[in-house]
Protein backbone atom coordinates (compact mmCIF):
# COMPACT_ATOMS: atom_id res chain seq x y z
CA UNK A 1 0.00 0.00 0.00
CA UNK A 2 1.06 3.54 -0.65
CA UNK A 3 -0.38 7.01 -0.07
CA UNK A 4 -0.08 9.30 -3.07
CA UNK A 5 -1.66 12.18 -4.91
CA UNK A 6 -3.40 11.06 -8.12
CA UNK A 7 -4.56 13.25 -10.99
CA UNK A 8 -8.05 12.71 -12.38
CA UNK A 9 -8.02 11.82 -16.09
CA UNK A 10 -11.77 11.79 -16.46
CA UNK A 11 -15.02 11.56 -14.51
CA UNK A 12 -17.74 10.23 -16.81
CA UNK A 13 -21.44 9.85 -15.99
CA UNK A 14 -22.55 6.30 -16.83
CA UNK A 15 -26.25 6.26 -15.88
CA UNK A 16 -28.51 7.92 -13.32
CA UNK A 17 -26.25 8.61 -10.35
CA UNK A 18 -23.37 6.38 -11.56
CA UNK A 19 -19.94 7.64 -12.58
CA UNK A 20 -16.68 6.19 -13.80
CA UNK A 21 -13.63 7.97 -12.43
CA UNK A 22 -10.23 7.44 -14.04
CA UNK A 23 -7.06 8.60 -12.29
CA UNK A 24 -3.31 8.19 -12.47
CA UNK A 25 -1.84 5.30 -10.53
CA UNK A 26 1.50 5.93 -8.81
CA UNK A 27 4.30 3.91 -10.41
CA UNK A 28 5.79 3.08 -7.02
CA UNK A 29 2.51 1.64 -5.68
CA UNK A 30 1.70 -2.07 -6.07
CA UNK A 31 -0.64 -2.79 -9.01
CA UNK A 32 -4.43 -2.79 -8.59
CA UNK A 33 -6.08 -6.21 -8.68
CA UNK A 34 -9.78 -7.15 -8.95
CA UNK A 35 -11.41 -7.21 -5.52
CA UNK A 36 -8.83 -5.01 -3.84
CA UNK A 37 -9.74 -1.45 -2.99
CA UNK A 38 -8.34 1.99 -2.15
CA UNK A 39 -9.46 4.87 0.04
CA UNK A 40 -9.89 8.50 -0.99
CA UNK A 41 -9.91 11.61 1.14
CA UNK A 42 -12.78 13.27 -0.67
CA UNK A 43 -12.32 16.74 0.83
CA UNK A 44 -9.75 18.77 2.74
CA UNK A 45 -12.47 19.84 5.15
CA UNK A 46 -13.52 17.89 8.21
CA UNK A 47 -17.00 17.18 6.81
CA UNK A 48 -17.08 14.51 5.51
CA UNK A 49 -14.23 13.35 7.70
CA UNK A 50 -13.32 9.73 7.00
CA UNK A 51 -11.71 8.48 3.82
CA UNK A 52 -14.12 6.62 1.55
CA UNK A 53 -13.33 3.11 0.25
CA UNK A 54 -13.84 2.10 -3.40
CA UNK A 55 -13.00 -0.96 -5.45
CA UNK A 56 -11.01 -0.82 -8.68
CA UNK A 57 -13.05 -1.27 -11.86
CA UNK A 58 -10.07 -1.33 -14.23
CA UNK A 59 -6.34 -0.82 -14.50
CA UNK A 60 -4.56 0.27 -17.64
CA UNK A 61 -0.87 -0.55 -17.32
CA UNK A 62 0.10 1.29 -20.50
CA UNK A 63 -1.62 4.51 -19.52
CA UNK A 64 -0.76 4.08 -15.84
CA UNK A 65 -4.36 4.74 -14.83
CA UNK A 66 -6.82 3.05 -12.53
CA UNK A 67 -10.60 3.43 -12.57
CA UNK A 68 -13.58 2.99 -10.32
CA UNK A 69 -17.32 2.93 -10.89
CA UNK A 70 -19.21 4.70 -8.14
CA UNK A 71 -22.71 5.69 -7.22
CA UNK A 72 -23.58 9.07 -5.78
CA UNK A 73 -25.02 8.07 -2.39
CA UNK A 74 -24.29 10.78 0.13
CA UNK A 75 -22.02 13.73 0.83
CA UNK A 76 -18.68 12.08 -0.02
CA UNK A 77 -19.70 10.51 -3.30
CA UNK A 78 -21.57 13.73 -4.14
CA UNK A 79 -18.30 15.68 -3.85
CA UNK A 80 -16.52 13.04 -5.94
CA UNK A 81 -19.13 13.29 -8.68
CA UNK A 82 -18.32 17.01 -9.01
CA UNK A 83 -14.57 16.45 -9.54
CA UNK A 84 -13.04 17.25 -12.90
CA UNK A 85 -10.20 16.15 -15.11
CA UNK A 86 -6.99 17.62 -13.69
CA UNK A 87 -8.20 17.66 -10.06
CA UNK A 88 -6.07 15.71 -7.60
CA UNK A 89 -7.13 12.89 -5.27
CA UNK A 90 -5.43 11.74 -2.05
CA UNK A 91 -5.32 7.94 -2.48
CA UNK A 92 -4.19 5.07 -0.25
CA UNK A 93 -4.02 1.66 -1.91
CA UNK A 94 -4.13 -1.03 -2.95
CA UNK A 95 -5.78 -2.44 0.19
CA UNK A 96 -7.37 -5.74 1.21
CA UNK A 97 -7.44 -9.12 -0.49
CA UNK A 98 -8.17 -9.73 -4.19
CA UNK A 99 -10.54 -12.28 -5.74
CA UNK A 100 -8.57 -15.54 -5.99
CA UNK A 101 -8.26 -17.04 -9.49
CA UNK A 102 -10.36 -20.18 -10.09
CA UNK A 103 -8.59 -23.54 -9.95
CA UNK A 104 -7.42 -24.87 -13.30
CA UNK A 105 -10.19 -26.04 -15.60
CA UNK A 106 -13.00 -24.26 -13.75
CA UNK A 107 -15.46 -21.73 -15.15
CA UNK A 108 -16.35 -18.45 -13.47
CA UNK A 109 -19.87 -17.20 -12.80
CA UNK A 110 -19.77 -13.52 -11.91
CA UNK A 111 -22.68 -11.79 -10.20
CA UNK A 112 -22.83 -8.02 -9.67
CA UNK A 113 -25.50 -5.83 -8.14
CA UNK A 114 -25.51 -2.02 -8.28
CA UNK A 115 -22.13 -0.62 -7.14
CA UNK A 116 -20.71 -4.15 -7.19
CA UNK A 117 -20.26 -3.74 -10.93
CA UNK A 118 -16.81 -2.14 -10.74
CA UNK A 119 -14.83 -4.98 -9.15
CA UNK A 120 -16.80 -7.65 -11.02
CA UNK A 121 -16.19 -5.99 -14.41
CA UNK A 122 -12.47 -5.78 -13.56
CA UNK A 123 -12.47 -9.46 -12.60
CA UNK A 124 -14.25 -10.41 -15.86
CA UNK A 125 -11.65 -8.55 -17.87
CA UNK A 126 -8.79 -10.22 -15.98
CA UNK A 127 -10.27 -13.73 -16.26
CA UNK A 128 -10.93 -13.32 -20.00
CA UNK A 129 -7.30 -12.35 -20.50
CA UNK A 130 -6.37 -15.62 -18.82
CA UNK A 131 -8.77 -17.43 -21.22
CA UNK A 132 -10.97 -18.58 -18.34
CA UNK A 133 -14.62 -19.04 -19.41
CA UNK A 134 -16.71 -16.29 -17.82
CA UNK A 135 -20.43 -15.73 -17.60
CA UNK A 136 -21.65 -12.57 -15.95
CA UNK A 137 -24.93 -11.42 -14.44
CA UNK A 138 -25.75 -7.85 -13.46
CA UNK A 139 -28.80 -6.85 -11.49
CA UNK A 140 -30.34 -3.51 -10.49
CA UNK A 141 -33.73 -1.95 -9.86
CA UNK A 142 -34.50 -0.42 -13.23
CA UNK A 143 -33.05 0.19 -16.71
CA UNK A 144 -32.02 3.81 -16.08
CA UNK A 145 -29.62 2.65 -13.32
CA UNK A 146 -27.62 0.30 -15.55
CA UNK A 147 -24.11 1.75 -15.94
CA UNK A 148 -22.99 1.65 -19.58
CA UNK A 149 -25.79 -0.79 -20.41
CA UNK A 150 -24.85 -1.23 -24.05
CA UNK A 151 -21.25 -2.24 -23.45
CA UNK A 152 -22.41 -4.57 -20.70
CA UNK A 153 -24.92 -6.22 -23.02
CA UNK A 154 -22.31 -6.38 -25.82
CA UNK A 155 -19.95 -8.32 -23.54
CA UNK A 156 -22.66 -10.96 -23.14
CA UNK A 157 -23.66 -9.94 -19.61
CA UNK A 158 -27.13 -11.01 -18.56
CA UNK A 159 -28.91 -7.90 -17.34
CA UNK A 160 -31.65 -8.26 -14.71
CA UNK A 161 -33.98 -5.49 -13.60
CA UNK A 162 -36.39 -5.78 -10.70
CA UNK A 163 -39.11 -4.06 -12.75
CA UNK A 164 -38.36 -5.85 -16.01
CA UNK A 165 -37.59 -2.60 -17.84
CA UNK A 166 -34.60 -4.32 -19.43
CA UNK A 167 -33.43 -7.92 -19.77
CA UNK A 168 -34.49 -10.59 -17.26
CA UNK A 169 -37.34 -9.50 -14.97
CA UNK A 170 -36.31 -10.10 -11.37
CA UNK A 171 -33.20 -9.94 -9.22
CA UNK A 172 -29.83 -11.43 -10.08
CA UNK A 173 -30.69 -14.07 -7.47
CA UNK A 174 -33.94 -14.94 -9.28
CA UNK A 175 -31.93 -15.35 -12.46
CA UNK A 176 -29.47 -17.71 -10.73
CA UNK A 177 -32.39 -19.89 -9.66
CA UNK A 178 -33.54 -20.06 -13.28
CA UNK A 179 -30.17 -21.50 -14.38
CA UNK A 180 -29.62 -23.55 -11.25
CA UNK A 181 -29.51 -26.97 -12.96
CA UNK A 182 -26.79 -25.94 -15.40
CA UNK A 183 -24.29 -24.95 -12.69
CA UNK A 184 -22.13 -27.53 -10.93
CA UNK A 185 -18.90 -27.97 -9.05
CA UNK A 186 -16.88 -26.99 -12.12
CA UNK A 187 -17.98 -23.39 -11.57
CA UNK A 188 -16.66 -20.78 -9.14
CA UNK A 189 -19.11 -18.03 -8.15
CA UNK A 190 -17.84 -14.47 -7.60
CA UNK A 191 -20.22 -11.84 -6.24
CA UNK A 192 -20.26 -8.19 -5.23
CA UNK A 193 -23.38 -6.22 -4.42
CA UNK A 194 -26.04 -5.76 -1.74
CA UNK A 195 -25.99 -8.14 1.25
CA UNK A 196 -29.21 -10.04 0.28
CA UNK A 197 -27.72 -10.74 -3.16
CA UNK A 198 -24.50 -12.02 -1.61
CA UNK A 199 -26.51 -14.30 0.66
CA UNK A 200 -28.45 -15.68 -2.31
CA UNK A 201 -25.16 -16.38 -4.11
CA UNK A 202 -23.71 -18.11 -1.03
CA UNK A 203 -26.78 -20.36 -0.72
CA UNK A 204 -26.86 -21.02 -4.45
CA UNK A 205 -23.19 -22.05 -4.43
CA UNK A 206 -23.81 -24.29 -1.42
CA UNK A 207 -26.65 -26.08 -3.23
CA UNK A 208 -24.62 -26.47 -6.42
CA UNK A 209 -21.46 -27.60 -4.66
CA UNK A 210 -19.32 -24.78 -5.98
CA UNK A 211 -16.94 -22.37 -4.30
CA UNK A 212 -18.20 -18.82 -3.80
CA UNK A 213 -16.19 -15.67 -3.19
CA UNK A 214 -17.99 -12.51 -2.10
CA UNK A 215 -16.78 -8.96 -1.67
CA UNK A 216 -18.45 -7.34 1.35
CA UNK A 217 -19.07 -3.72 2.29
CA UNK A 218 -18.65 -2.31 5.76
CA UNK A 219 -18.14 1.20 7.09
CA UNK A 220 -14.41 1.74 7.47
CA UNK A 221 -12.38 4.17 9.55
CA UNK A 222 -8.71 3.32 8.92
CA UNK A 223 -8.87 0.88 5.99
CA UNK A 224 -5.55 -0.69 7.02
CA UNK A 225 -6.50 -3.05 9.87
CA UNK A 226 -5.79 -0.78 12.82
CA UNK A 227 -9.19 0.21 14.24
CA UNK A 228 -11.36 -2.96 14.24
CA UNK A 229 -14.18 -0.76 12.95
CA UNK A 230 -14.95 -2.71 9.77
CA UNK A 231 -15.71 -6.02 11.48
CA UNK A 232 -17.99 -8.54 9.76
CA UNK A 233 -19.32 -11.70 11.42
CA UNK A 234 -17.31 -14.82 10.79
CA UNK A 235 -18.81 -18.31 10.45
CA UNK A 236 -16.87 -19.68 13.40
CA UNK A 237 -18.14 -16.96 15.73
CA UNK A 238 -16.24 -13.75 16.27
CA UNK A 239 -15.34 -11.23 13.61
CA UNK A 240 -13.04 -10.56 10.67
CA UNK A 241 -11.85 -7.23 9.37
CA UNK A 242 -13.34 -6.39 5.97
CA UNK A 243 -10.39 -4.13 5.15
CA UNK A 244 -7.64 -6.65 5.86
CA UNK A 245 -8.87 -10.26 5.85
CA UNK A 246 -11.43 -9.08 3.21
CA UNK A 247 -13.18 -7.43 1.48
CA UNK A 248 -13.17 -10.67 -0.52
CA UNK A 249 -14.03 -13.75 1.54
CA UNK A 250 -14.80 -17.34 0.74
CA UNK A 251 -18.52 -17.14 1.55
CA UNK A 252 -18.18 -20.14 3.85
CA UNK A 253 -15.97 -18.10 6.19
CA UNK A 254 -18.80 -15.67 6.94
CA UNK A 255 -21.93 -15.87 9.06
CA UNK A 256 -25.07 -15.31 6.95
Amino acid sequence: MKQFSATIRGNYPLSTGFFELEFTWDKAAPLPEPGRFFTVRVSDNTIPLLRRPFAFSAFDGNEGTASMIFQKRGHGTGLLSAKHKGDTLDIIGPLGQPFPMPDKGKKALLVAGGIGLGPIAFLAQTLRKEKIPVSMVFGCRTASLIPSGDSLAASGTVICTDDGSRGFKGTAGDYLKSIERSVGSGTVVYACGPQPMLKTCHEFAGRRGCACFVSVEQIMACGVGACMGCAVKSAGGGYKRACTEGPVFNSRELQW
Binding site: M1, Q3, T46, L49, G223, V224, G238
Partner: protein, 305 residues
Protein backbone atom coordinates in the same frame (compact mmCIF):
# COMPACT_ATOMS: atom_id res chain seq x y z
CA UNK B 1 18.55 27.69 18.11
CA UNK B 2 17.11 24.20 17.93
CA UNK B 3 14.28 23.10 20.09
CA UNK B 4 14.60 20.48 22.81
CA UNK B 5 11.75 18.13 21.94
CA UNK B 6 12.29 15.67 24.75
CA UNK B 7 9.71 15.18 27.47
CA UNK B 8 10.35 13.53 30.80
CA UNK B 9 7.60 11.31 32.14
CA UNK B 10 8.35 9.46 35.35
CA UNK B 11 11.83 7.94 35.07
CA UNK B 12 11.95 8.01 31.25
CA UNK B 13 12.20 10.41 28.33
CA UNK B 14 9.89 10.64 25.32
CA UNK B 15 11.97 11.51 22.22
CA UNK B 16 9.34 14.03 21.07
CA UNK B 17 5.88 15.15 22.15
CA UNK B 18 3.76 13.66 19.33
CA UNK B 19 2.32 10.18 19.83
CA UNK B 20 -0.45 8.18 18.20
CA UNK B 21 -3.53 7.44 20.31
CA UNK B 22 -4.64 4.06 21.57
CA UNK B 23 -7.12 2.21 19.39
CA UNK B 24 -6.36 4.27 16.32
CA UNK B 25 -2.99 2.79 15.45
CA UNK B 26 -3.46 -0.93 16.08
CA UNK B 27 -0.15 -2.38 17.16
CA UNK B 28 1.93 -0.14 14.91
CA UNK B 29 2.62 -2.53 12.05
CA UNK B 30 -0.60 -1.64 10.26
CA UNK B 31 0.74 1.81 9.36
CA UNK B 32 4.34 0.81 8.79
CA UNK B 33 4.14 1.04 4.98
CA UNK B 34 2.54 4.48 5.08
CA UNK B 35 4.63 6.45 7.56
CA UNK B 36 8.05 6.40 9.12
CA UNK B 37 7.22 5.06 12.57
CA UNK B 38 10.65 6.11 13.83
CA UNK B 39 9.53 9.75 13.70
CA UNK B 40 6.77 9.23 16.26
CA UNK B 41 7.36 10.17 19.88
CA UNK B 42 5.25 7.28 21.15
CA UNK B 43 2.90 4.58 19.99
CA UNK B 44 0.04 3.90 22.40
CA UNK B 45 -1.20 0.40 21.56
CA UNK B 46 -4.78 -0.74 21.23
CA UNK B 47 -6.08 -1.62 24.71
CA UNK B 48 -4.61 -4.88 26.01
CA UNK B 49 -6.83 -7.07 28.20
CA UNK B 50 -6.05 -10.35 29.94
CA UNK B 51 -8.04 -12.49 27.50
CA UNK B 52 -8.63 -11.76 23.80
CA UNK B 53 -11.84 -9.79 23.18
CA UNK B 54 -13.97 -9.99 20.05
CA UNK B 55 -15.47 -6.56 20.55
CA UNK B 56 -18.98 -5.16 20.16
CA UNK B 57 -21.83 -5.84 17.74
CA UNK B 58 -21.61 -4.34 14.23
CA UNK B 59 -21.77 -1.73 12.80
CA UNK B 60 -19.17 -0.14 15.05
CA UNK B 61 -18.59 3.23 13.44
CA UNK B 62 -20.78 6.07 12.29
CA UNK B 63 -19.64 9.43 11.03
CA UNK B 64 -20.87 12.64 12.67
CA UNK B 65 -20.22 16.30 11.81
CA UNK B 66 -16.40 16.61 11.97
CA UNK B 67 -16.21 13.48 14.05
CA UNK B 68 -16.86 9.78 14.37
CA UNK B 69 -18.76 7.77 16.93
CA UNK B 70 -17.21 4.37 17.65
CA UNK B 71 -18.29 1.30 19.52
CA UNK B 72 -15.32 -1.02 19.05
CA UNK B 73 -15.50 -2.44 22.56
CA UNK B 74 -11.82 -3.11 23.30
CA UNK B 75 -11.51 -5.75 20.55
CA UNK B 76 -7.92 -6.96 21.02
CA UNK B 77 -5.69 -10.04 20.86
CA UNK B 78 -5.19 -10.35 24.63
CA UNK B 79 -1.96 -10.05 26.59
CA UNK B 80 -0.45 -13.42 25.59
CA UNK B 81 -0.63 -12.79 21.84
CA UNK B 82 0.28 -9.15 22.36
CA UNK B 83 3.56 -10.28 23.91
CA UNK B 84 4.33 -13.03 21.41
CA UNK B 85 3.03 -11.56 18.12
CA UNK B 86 2.78 -7.79 18.38
CA UNK B 87 5.45 -6.51 20.72
CA UNK B 88 8.58 -7.95 19.03
CA UNK B 89 8.10 -5.81 15.88
CA UNK B 90 7.13 -2.73 17.90
CA UNK B 91 10.13 -3.07 20.17
CA UNK B 92 12.57 -2.51 17.28
CA UNK B 93 11.35 1.07 16.89
CA UNK B 94 13.16 4.01 18.46
CA UNK B 95 9.87 5.54 19.65
CA UNK B 96 8.36 4.75 23.03
CA UNK B 97 5.91 1.86 23.03
CA UNK B 98 3.23 2.43 25.63
CA UNK B 99 0.79 -0.39 26.35
CA UNK B 100 -2.78 0.80 26.86
CA UNK B 101 -4.14 -1.48 29.58
CA UNK B 102 -7.80 -2.24 30.19
CA UNK B 103 -9.75 -4.62 32.36
CA UNK B 104 -13.12 -5.37 33.87
CA UNK B 105 -11.82 -5.67 37.43
CA UNK B 106 -8.89 -4.34 39.47
CA UNK B 107 -7.44 -7.85 39.43
CA UNK B 108 -7.54 -7.97 35.63
CA UNK B 109 -5.67 -4.66 35.27
CA UNK B 110 -3.03 -5.92 37.68
CA UNK B 111 -2.68 -9.29 35.98
CA UNK B 112 -2.14 -7.59 32.60
CA UNK B 113 0.53 -5.24 33.99
CA UNK B 114 2.26 -8.13 35.77
CA UNK B 115 2.46 -10.05 32.49
CA UNK B 116 3.67 -6.98 30.58
CA UNK B 117 6.41 -6.31 33.14
CA UNK B 118 8.26 -9.32 31.69
CA UNK B 119 8.66 -7.50 28.36
CA UNK B 120 11.80 -5.41 28.67
CA UNK B 121 11.07 -3.48 25.46
CA UNK B 122 7.93 -1.81 26.77
CA UNK B 123 8.37 1.87 27.63
CA UNK B 124 5.41 2.32 29.94
CA UNK B 125 1.69 1.99 30.57
CA UNK B 126 -1.39 4.02 29.84
CA UNK B 127 -4.17 2.81 32.09
CA UNK B 128 -7.48 3.02 30.28
CA UNK B 129 -10.00 3.64 33.02
CA UNK B 130 -12.21 5.55 30.69
CA UNK B 131 -13.52 3.51 27.77
CA UNK B 132 -17.18 4.36 27.33
CA UNK B 133 -17.80 1.24 25.26
CA UNK B 134 -17.52 -1.59 27.74
CA UNK B 135 -20.25 -2.42 30.20
CA UNK B 136 -19.02 -3.06 33.75
CA UNK B 137 -15.67 -2.07 32.29
CA UNK B 138 -13.22 0.72 32.78
CA UNK B 139 -15.87 3.39 32.97
CA UNK B 140 -16.96 2.36 36.46
CA UNK B 141 -13.40 2.96 37.65
CA UNK B 142 -13.08 5.96 35.43
CA UNK B 143 -15.75 8.01 37.13
CA UNK B 144 -15.00 7.19 40.77
CA UNK B 145 -11.95 9.03 42.19
CA UNK B 146 -11.51 6.65 45.14
CA UNK B 147 -11.36 3.61 42.87
CA UNK B 148 -8.95 5.41 40.52
CA UNK B 149 -6.60 6.26 43.33
CA UNK B 150 -6.68 2.70 44.67
CA UNK B 151 -6.17 1.10 41.24
CA UNK B 152 -3.32 3.50 40.43
CA UNK B 153 -1.63 2.71 43.75
CA UNK B 154 -1.88 -1.04 43.14
CA UNK B 155 -0.42 -0.75 39.63
CA UNK B 156 2.23 1.65 40.91
CA UNK B 157 3.39 -1.06 43.29
CA UNK B 158 3.92 -3.40 40.35
CA UNK B 159 6.07 -1.21 38.14
CA UNK B 160 8.76 1.45 38.00
CA UNK B 161 7.93 2.25 34.39
CA UNK B 162 6.14 5.47 33.45
CA UNK B 163 2.50 5.12 34.49
CA UNK B 164 -0.04 7.26 32.66
CA UNK B 165 -3.70 7.29 33.67
CA UNK B 166 -6.13 8.13 30.85
CA UNK B 167 -9.04 10.22 32.06
CA UNK B 168 -12.60 10.16 30.84
CA UNK B 169 -14.31 13.44 29.94
CA UNK B 170 -17.67 11.89 30.84
CA UNK B 171 -17.67 13.22 34.41
CA UNK B 172 -18.76 16.39 36.13
CA UNK B 173 -15.23 17.44 37.01
CA UNK B 174 -12.28 15.85 35.26
CA UNK B 175 -9.78 17.49 37.63
CA UNK B 176 -11.05 15.31 40.49
CA UNK B 177 -10.18 12.21 38.46
CA UNK B 178 -6.76 13.55 37.47
CA UNK B 179 -5.94 14.46 41.08
CA UNK B 180 -6.93 10.95 42.21
CA UNK B 181 -4.53 9.46 39.66
CA UNK B 182 -1.76 11.78 40.85
CA UNK B 183 -2.44 10.84 44.47
CA UNK B 184 -2.22 7.16 43.48
CA UNK B 185 1.25 7.70 42.09
CA UNK B 186 0.66 8.22 38.36
CA UNK B 187 3.56 9.84 36.47
CA UNK B 188 1.23 11.58 34.01
CA UNK B 189 -2.41 11.81 33.00
CA UNK B 190 -3.74 11.77 29.45
CA UNK B 191 -6.99 13.40 28.43
CA UNK B 192 -9.37 13.06 26.81
CA UNK B 193 -10.85 9.71 25.92
CA UNK B 194 -13.99 9.81 23.77
CA UNK B 195 -17.21 11.59 24.75
CA UNK B 196 -20.41 9.55 25.00
CA UNK B 197 -22.67 10.24 22.02
CA UNK B 198 -25.59 8.78 20.09
CA UNK B 199 -26.74 8.89 16.46
CA UNK B 200 -30.29 7.79 15.67
CA UNK B 201 -31.46 6.29 12.39
CA UNK B 202 -34.78 8.07 11.96
CA UNK B 203 -36.07 5.63 9.33
CA UNK B 204 -35.43 2.63 11.59
CA UNK B 205 -36.24 4.69 14.72
CA UNK B 206 -33.31 3.23 16.66
CA UNK B 207 -29.67 4.11 17.35
CA UNK B 208 -27.29 3.40 14.46
CA UNK B 209 -24.87 1.63 16.80
CA UNK B 210 -26.34 -1.58 18.25
CA UNK B 211 -24.77 -0.66 21.61
CA UNK B 212 -26.90 2.50 21.55
CA UNK B 213 -24.18 4.96 22.44
CA UNK B 214 -20.58 5.21 21.28
CA UNK B 215 -17.50 7.34 21.87
CA UNK B 216 -17.16 10.61 19.95
CA UNK B 217 -13.74 11.60 18.62
CA UNK B 218 -12.23 13.78 15.92
CA UNK B 219 -12.12 17.55 15.34
CA UNK B 220 -15.60 17.94 16.86
CA UNK B 221 -14.21 17.20 20.35
CA UNK B 222 -11.05 19.33 20.11
CA UNK B 223 -12.29 22.39 22.04
CA UNK B 224 -13.53 20.10 24.82
CA UNK B 225 -10.15 18.36 24.96
CA UNK B 226 -8.25 21.66 25.03
CA UNK B 227 -10.44 23.02 27.84
CA UNK B 228 -10.06 19.86 29.91
CA UNK B 229 -6.30 19.79 29.31
CA UNK B 230 -6.17 23.40 30.45
CA UNK B 231 -8.07 22.66 33.66
CA UNK B 232 -6.23 19.43 34.45
CA UNK B 233 -2.84 21.08 33.87
CA UNK B 234 -3.65 23.55 36.59
CA UNK B 235 -4.98 20.93 38.98
CA UNK B 236 -2.03 18.50 38.97
CA UNK B 237 1.74 18.90 38.99
CA UNK B 238 2.52 15.81 36.87
CA UNK B 239 2.73 16.10 33.04
CA UNK B 240 -0.52 16.12 31.06
CA UNK B 241 -0.85 14.49 27.63
CA UNK B 242 -3.46 16.24 25.47
CA UNK B 243 -5.72 14.21 23.16
CA UNK B 244 -8.76 14.98 21.06
CA UNK B 245 -9.35 16.09 17.49
CA UNK B 246 -5.80 16.99 16.55
CA UNK B 247 -5.56 17.36 12.75
CA UNK B 248 -2.89 20.05 12.39
CA UNK B 249 0.16 21.42 14.20
CA UNK B 250 -1.93 24.42 15.22
CA UNK B 251 -4.40 22.10 16.98
CA UNK B 252 -1.52 20.42 18.84
CA UNK B 253 0.02 23.78 19.79
CA UNK B 254 -3.31 24.75 21.37
CA UNK B 255 -3.00 21.70 23.63
CA UNK B 256 0.63 22.50 24.45
CA UNK B 257 -0.18 26.13 25.26
CA UNK B 258 -3.08 24.93 27.41
CA UNK B 259 -0.54 23.05 29.51
CA UNK B 260 0.01 19.68 27.83
CA UNK B 261 3.57 18.35 27.74
CA UNK B 262 2.81 15.94 24.91
CA UNK B 263 -0.09 15.12 22.59
CA UNK B 264 -1.64 12.15 20.82
CA UNK B 265 -3.21 12.04 17.36
CA UNK B 266 -6.08 9.57 16.98
CA UNK B 267 -8.87 9.95 14.47
CA UNK B 268 -6.67 12.31 12.43
CA UNK B 269 -4.45 9.38 11.45
CA UNK B 270 -7.46 7.63 9.87
CA UNK B 271 -8.11 10.70 7.75
CA UNK B 272 -4.50 11.17 6.70
CA UNK B 273 -1.75 8.92 8.09
CA UNK B 274 0.82 11.65 7.49
CA UNK B 275 -0.81 13.92 10.10
CA UNK B 276 1.21 12.84 13.18
CA UNK B 277 4.54 13.55 11.46
CA UNK B 278 3.26 16.82 9.97
CA UNK B 279 2.06 17.88 13.42
CA UNK B 280 5.54 17.33 14.85
CA UNK B 281 7.18 19.26 12.00
CA UNK B 282 4.70 22.10 12.49
CA UNK B 283 5.40 22.30 16.23
CA UNK B 284 9.14 22.57 15.53
CA UNK B 285 8.53 25.24 12.89
CA UNK B 286 6.29 27.27 15.22
CA UNK B 287 8.83 27.14 18.03
CA UNK B 288 11.59 28.22 15.66
CA UNK B 289 9.61 31.26 14.51
CA UNK B 290 8.56 32.08 18.07
CA UNK B 291 12.10 31.42 19.39
CA UNK B 292 10.85 28.87 21.89
CA UNK B 293 13.45 26.36 23.08
CA UNK B 294 11.38 23.79 24.97
CA UNK B 295 7.85 22.71 25.82
CA UNK B 296 8.35 24.26 29.29
CA UNK B 297 9.07 27.59 27.66
CA UNK B 298 5.96 27.20 25.49
CA UNK B 299 3.89 26.78 28.68
CA UNK B 300 5.38 29.96 30.12
CA UNK B 301 4.38 31.96 27.05
CA UNK B 302 0.68 31.27 27.52
CA UNK B 303 -1.37 34.27 28.64
CA UNK B 304 -3.64 33.05 31.38
CA UNK B 305 -7.20 34.34 30.93
Amino acid sequence: MSMDLRIKIGNKILPNPVGVASGTFGYGGEYEKLIDLAKLGAIYTKAVTLEPREGNEIPRIVETPSGILNSIGLANVGVTRFLSEKLPALAKLPCAVVANVAGATEAEYMAVVERLESAAQLWGYEINVSCPNVKHGGMAFGTDPQQIERLTKKIRALTKRPLIVKCTPNVTDITVIAKAAEAGGADAVSCINTLVGMVIDTAAKRPVLPAGTGGLSGPAVRPVGVAMTYRVSRAVSIPVIGIGGIMTADDAIQYLLAGASAVQVGTGTFVDPSIPVKVLEGIVEYCKIEKIASIKELHSRFSQP
